[in-house]
């Protein structure tokens, strides 16, 4: 039963690492900010990567990526210096998966969808503006 105790401890730890998010849906595409973060919807196809908005206020960002292509895809957020800020892999065709990143600071970023999970991907600029409130 010590195993169970350990497992429970691991679960508590993992939950402790979570935050509150995902409640501020922005249906009209203008990113609504708040402590709960900003939700950006992304549609990835075999040859396109469409974001609901290309800018968001600093803080927690949640990219909801839907794969409408024929191959598995990945979604990345890069900082200006090509560092990976966040990524979500294994988005199978027909699936929607979410990339949640805490505390994204103000600055210039690049988004990328990678149909087929290889190469530089379909890239676009993404701006993170000063936090509101």
């Amino acid at each position: 039963m010590r195993t169970l105790a350990l497992a429970t401890a691991a679960a508590v730890l993992a939950l402790g690492a979570c935050g509150d998010a995902g409640e501020s849906d922005s249906s009209d595409g203008t990113a609504a900010a708040g402590s709960a973060g900003t939700v950006i919807t992304v549609t990835s196809t075999d040859d396109a990567c469409d974001l609901s908005t290309t800018s968001a206020p600093a803080g927690r960002l949640a990219f909801e990526v839907t794969n409408e292509g024929s191959r598995p895809t990945e979604f990345y957020l890069y900082s200006d210096g090509e560092d990976i800020v966040g990524e979500v892999e294994d988005i199978g065709p027909g699936l929607t998966r979410t990339l949640t990143i805490d505390d994204v600071v103000e600055g210039d970023y690049v988004t990328a969808c990678k149909p087929g999970m290889t190469g530089d991907g379909i890239r676009a600029d993404f701006a993170v503006t000063a936090a509101t409130g």
Binding site: R2, T3, L4, L6, A7, A10, A11, A14, L15, A17, C18, G19, D20, A21, G22, E23, R60, A62, S70, R71, P72, E82, D83, I84, G86, E87, V88, D90, I91, G92, P93, G94, L95, T96, R97, T98, L99, T100, I101, D102, G116, M117, T118, G119
Partner: protein, 287 residues
Amino acid sequence: MFVSNALIGLREGLEAALVVVILLAFLVKTDRRWGIRYVWLGVGTAVVLSVLLGAVLTFGTRQLSFEAQEVIGGTASIIAVAFVTVMVFWMRSAARSISGELKGRLDRALDLGPLAVALVGFLGVGREGLETAIFFYATAQAAGAGNNVPLLGWAVGIGTAVLLGYLIYKGALQINLARFFRWTGVALIFVAAGILSYGIHDLQEAAILPGLDTLAFDVSHVIDPSAWYAVVLKGIFNFTPATTVLQAVAWVLYVGTVLYFFLRPAKAPAAPVAESQAPQSARQPAA
């Protein structure tokens, strides 16, 4: 849509099944059947925990950040490597004691207890469990929205992995004991090196370890990462077409060191018994 989701299920299933299958075959072959239920206890705990945690993260208001997810996967993988390494040497000492080279004393010293056996099962499945559960819920949500092809594909992929695991288990039981220890030991070392490399990559993605963009090699233009053979390579050995320098160095160091100690002949005075020693010592300088 069906095939690519099935391949993702196959890869995740293989990653989880291999260590467990080898551990089970070892316990059966060496008359340590007491350990089997502890393996399943560990595996069961990992599955239940992953399913619950995955549900909380998918349907609740809490979400796991990218960094936290990578840290959990990376840390669990590296801990799993530590346990698998102990298991490899446990198998080695068991092989030695069976072939009469060593008496029971050392074997007992190296014998893993129920907790350690359960932990190997837990980590073997749990390190990828959360990722797999979250993927499962994504396919379930697609099915709820009227598209059940991804869910069917995923289920067939996982089912195939379980079937392959079962066949590997059956095959392992067929081969004779000396060969079994040699080859499953060597195979486990390569599997563990892959898990180590995977864990390092996760921690690099979480920016805990440096060098994510310093690649040792990138053959993704030759090996399509979504092709079935790339999926199988990744599922078994965690081979990734684009590998960082830190991953490659850790992999080489791990395989070199562990393989050397694994294949090194025992220093036991009662050496002449072992008819299998000659090829081992011949291979040793190359290790």
